[in-house]
Each structure stands twice: as structure tokens, then as C-alpha cells.
């Protein structure tokens, strides 16, 4: 009986919500204000309201310019997706921002660090006002203003093993800054059977690849190296590599073939050269 009541109640809410959303639709889009009003009236999270809207073919207004390259169906797929970003410095900061703006529904962000002055040259969310504050906290606040429907899960710790909630992710983004942790992350992704989108930078140079869990392609990229810290990192290289990682992540979430699944793309922004290394 309880179940029936609950089901009936839910159906009534759904019918009411559908009418509410259709009444407020403008040119196939739903404004943030309308979404928030619906969330309040029907006691739902904004993300649930927008999920219902997308199911009706209504795009959240802030994603209007994603059309026609991302359909409502694509947008719904992204909204229902969880991505984990390990490392929230240069690469991770851009990747998180771009995925939030693309409309990924849930982002897990893992990083133990706080902003330091030497992060200001390249880390998107770093500014003089946030020095000393945890990166995952600062990024979470910013992304909540950019995409209010986003579920953001900050994990202020160093990555060490494939523990929950990382296993919830459909894609894990390797935005780490050292080879040892990257190897651990690659191994964890294989164990969890989750594809990993790898990116790395140094100075004018970078590389990006999609590593599928069925084989150890990571060993081909780092076949024999001991630990080596990057000597320096430039802002535009970080943005370029992170953007390629974000695009590869979205293609994976949408079930499309990634051009980076069979090759590692290397970037030389100093000489304008781009190479594909087979994996």
C-alpha cells in the first residue's frame, strides 16, 4: 500500500512537473529561474528537474549554445554521468570547469593541496584571494555558480587506491602531476574497468590519450622512467591538453569512438607540431 501511494504520489508530481515545465518552455529551453521554481514547488533537486525537462526535449537555457552539437538526448546522457578527476591543479582545474559547462551531472574531484602563489601562472581557479584554501573547495564553489544543477563531490586527499566513490565514475581523468601517482591511477582504472583519459604537460609540450582498461597502454608511454618532476608548465599548454581531455571524456560518455583511443597525441606548441603515437 505504501508503495502504491508512493508511486501514485510520484506520478502526480510528474504530471504536475511536466505541465509546469511545458508552460515555462521558451524556444525549447528552460531557464534557470524556472528550473529553480520547479525544484522548490515539487521539492526536487534542480538536477532532477532538468533531467525531467531534458526527457521532454527541453534544454536548460545555459546549454542553449551546446545545440545542435549536443542534442537533448546527449545532454541527458551527460547529466546522468559521473566523472572522477584525479588531480585538481592545472589540467584538473580546466577539465572540471569544461565538464561542468558541458553539463556533466556529477563530478568527483580529488586533490589534497591548497592553492599556492606559484599556481597562479596556469591554474584556472587560482587567484590571489584563494591562496591557502583547498583546491577542491574553491573549485566546488565556482562550479556551483556556473552549473547550479551539478553534483560536486570534493575529495581532499591524495589518490592512493581504487576506493569508493571512484568506482561510481564512468570515466576517470588523469590530471596528476607525477608519474608514480599516474601509474597507480592507471592500474586502479584497469582494476575498476573504467577508461582513463590521460593528460600530461611540460613547458610548451603535452600529451593526451584515452587508455582503455583491457590493456596496459600506460606502460608504453612510461616504459622505463623513474620519477621526474616537470621543470615548468605554461598556461596555454595546460588549457590545450585539458581541453582535449575534456573533449575525449565527453565522447566516451556519449558512447562515440574517441580518436585518442588508439593513439597518444603529442603537442609541441612551440613548433606547432602534433604527432600521433600508436598505443
Amino acid at each position: 500500500m505504501t508503495c502504491w501511494r508512493s508511486f501514485r504520489s510520484s506520478a502526480v508530481v510528474d504530471r504536475g512537473l511536466i505541465k509546469f515545465l511545458r508552460d515555462r518552455e521558451r524556444d525549447g529551453c528552460l531557464s534557470l529561474a524556472a528550473g529553480r521554481e520547479a525544484a522548490k514547488r515539487f521539492n526536487l533537486k534542480l538536477q532532477r528537474v532538468e533531467e525531467a525537462g531534458l526527457g521532454l526535449g527541453l534544454m536548460p537555457e545555459r546549454f542553449r549554445r551546446n545545440r545542435p552539437f549536443l542534442s537533448c538526448f546527449d545532454q541527458l546522457e551527460l547529466l546522468r554521468s559521473t566523472v572522477a578527476v584525479i588531480g585538481c591543479g592545472g589540467l584538473g582545474g580546466y577539465v572540471l570547469e569544461e565538464l561542468a559547462r558541458a553539463g556533466v551531472g556529477t563530478l568527483l574531484a580529488m586533490d589534497p593541496d591548497r592553492y599556492e602563489e606559484h599556481n597562479l601562472n596556469r591554474q584556472l581557479q587560482a587567484d590571489a584571494g584563494v591562496l591557502g584554501r583547498p583546491k577542491v573547495e574553491v573549485i566546488g564553489r565556482r562550479l556551483a555558480r556556473i552549473n547550479p544543477a551539478l553534483e560536486f563531490i570534493p575529495l581532499q586527499r591524495r589518490f592512493s587506491r581504487p576506493e569508493p566513490p571512484l568506482d561510481r565514475a564512468r570515466v576517470i581523468v588523469d590530471a596528476l602531476d607525477n608519474i608514480g601517482d599516474r601509474k597507480t591511477a592507471a592500474s586502479a582504472c584497469r582494476q575498476l574497468r573504467i577508461p582513463m583519459v590521460h593528460g600530461a604537460v611540460e613547458g610548451w609540450y603535452g600529451q593526451v590519450a584515452v587508455l582503455q582498461p583491457d590493456r596496459d597502454a600506460f606502460a608504453q608511454l612510461y616504459p622505463r622512467n623513474r620519477e621526474k618532476q616537470a621543470s615548468g608548465v605554461l598556461s596555454f599548454t595546460v588549457a590545450a591538453v585539458a581541453s582535449l581531455q575534456a573533449a575525449a571524456t565527453v565522447t566516451l560518455l556519449l558512447g562515440r569512438d574517441s580518436p585518442l583511443a588508439t593513439h597518444c597525441l603529442t603537442l609541441d606548441l612551440l613548433n606547432g607540431e602534433y604527432e600521433k603515437i600508436p598505443l
Partner: protein, 74 residues
Amino acid sequence: MKVRVKLFAGFRQGRFKEVEHQFEDGITPAEIIASLGIDPDDVGVIMVNSRHADPGLCLEEDDVLAIFPVIGGG
């Protein structure tokens, strides 16, 4: 024997982009890397004729050796 050596990214600085050079028979990528003054720990991918190769591989006439630096920053 003749081998074409291609360097990528920061390895080009103070060296070259691509050269064809005469080497003694059976030379290995590791020996060429050492002769160029490159720290082996800085080397990432090594490719011979567009295939991943071990640094100890004996090269052959007209091989194309590509040497990429390891990149690990974020």
C-alpha cells in the same frame, strides 16, 4: 650504416629536429641517446620505423629512430 634520427619536443633544443647519420653497425637507441647527451631517465617513448622499441634494440640500415621525452606534469 645510415639511420635517420628524429627528436621531439624539448630534445630539439640545442640539438636538431631530424638528421640522417652514419653509425656503426648494430648501434642501439640507447647508444645514440647517450651520444646526444640525453639523460636516459628523460626519455619516454622510443620508436623505430613507427613501432615502439626497446632502447637495447640493434638498429638496421635505413631505420628511422624517433625519441620522445617523458612528460609527466599536470
